[in-house]
Symmetry: C2
Subunit: 204 residues, 2 copies
């Protein structure tokens, strides 16, 4: 096990540190143990809380189970990702809703008029949707781990193809695919090196 | 306390669910209880592990303590955010390094030549740096909470001004400011509404 960070520095329970951050890994194979709709709803009930700018919450999720939808999805997945994407109990297509402003009267009632403000500015909406959905993708991957499941995020797919296949009539823009399930045989590649503190961090 | 999600759905310890997801809130005031350099390093030691595409790890962090650096930072912060940013024990400037490719021989040795590939494609690098740093911003905010500290993310600042002030000679592009400390008096605004499952999630 990775060194546990001591309680005077990290107050989070050591088991939770391992489950979410230090020991969890990206899975590349999955067993056929099912993932229930209740589990997917519980993951959402964690993901919805951490913050986004102006509470815009632009993340959208399409859960794709095996069958016709999965077959259609697979046609847009890079060849090297196809076998694992075919066998995962659930694949999440994570997307950013660039029409998030339509909900602003509900989610940000403390500043009236923001819906109209953003309606007139699609370029700002696109950047804001993608960045804040990105944060929520981070929350999502850790929430899948919180459910005791392995996540397998994949950028290797045709985003425009997926949008045309599943998201016509919406402003959802797909960002990432995530295979979700219980890790199967040989699920793990060796862990790749992490950048060190002095490369990533400065002080002022 | 928010309803705890039961263990057959969410295996993460209920206390950890509350600490990271369901009960944690964005703080708007801070006490003068210090945050140590050791705590900042421990936060990094969690943030570094969750996944990024091709292990690129583009997130960069500038920790700014009170003093000259903080004064320079404050000149680029929106007026409504200035008071709280002045009093936080630590402010993190989170940035994306669009020159992440310089580390690819180290962090992604399994596919040689990617450094040269990305060196020739700055537009792809910019998008990849911003998206993957966005995921890592999500991990960072939850890791601050894992340290028992409150995070106060803020988009209201002049990113170009901050880049010119602190990041000349680098390819770091600032994305978000995060106040870090122990919550002070009246730290919390009322929680804003979250979108419901049927708005965010579809099934196929």
């Amino acid at each position: 096990m990775t060194d546990v960070l001591p309680g005077h520095l990290i107050t989070l329970d050591p088991q939770a540190q391992a489950q979410l951050f230090t020991e969890a890994r990206t899975a590349n194979t999955f067993t056929d143990t099912p993932v229930s709709d209740e589990q997917l709803r519980a993951i959402f009930d964690l993901v919805k809380y951490p913050p986004t700018a102006m509470n815009v919450q632009p993340l959208r999720i399409l859960f794709v189970r095996p069958g016709d939808g999965r077959d259609r999805l697979l046609t847009h997945v890079a060849e090297g990702n196809r076998a694992k994407t075919a066998t995962a109990p659930v694949v999440a297509v994570l997307a950013a809703d660039t029409d998030f402003h339509e909900h602003l009267d509900t989610v940000f009632p403390i500043r009236p008029g923001m819906r109209e403000h953003f309606a007139a500015d699609p370029a700002t909406r696109d950047g804001m949707a993608r960045f804040n959905a990105g944060l929520q993708v981070g929350y999502f991957l850790l929430a899948v781990r919180a459910a005791g499941l392995a996540a397998g995020p994949m950028g290797g797919f045709d985003a425009t193809g997926v949008d045309n296949e599943f998201f016509t009539g919406t402003a959802w823009k797909s960002l990432l695919l995530v295979n979700i399930g219980h890790p199967g045989p040989d699920a793990w590649h060796p862990r790749l090196p992490r950048l060190d503190y002095d490369t990533v961090v400065r002080h002022a």
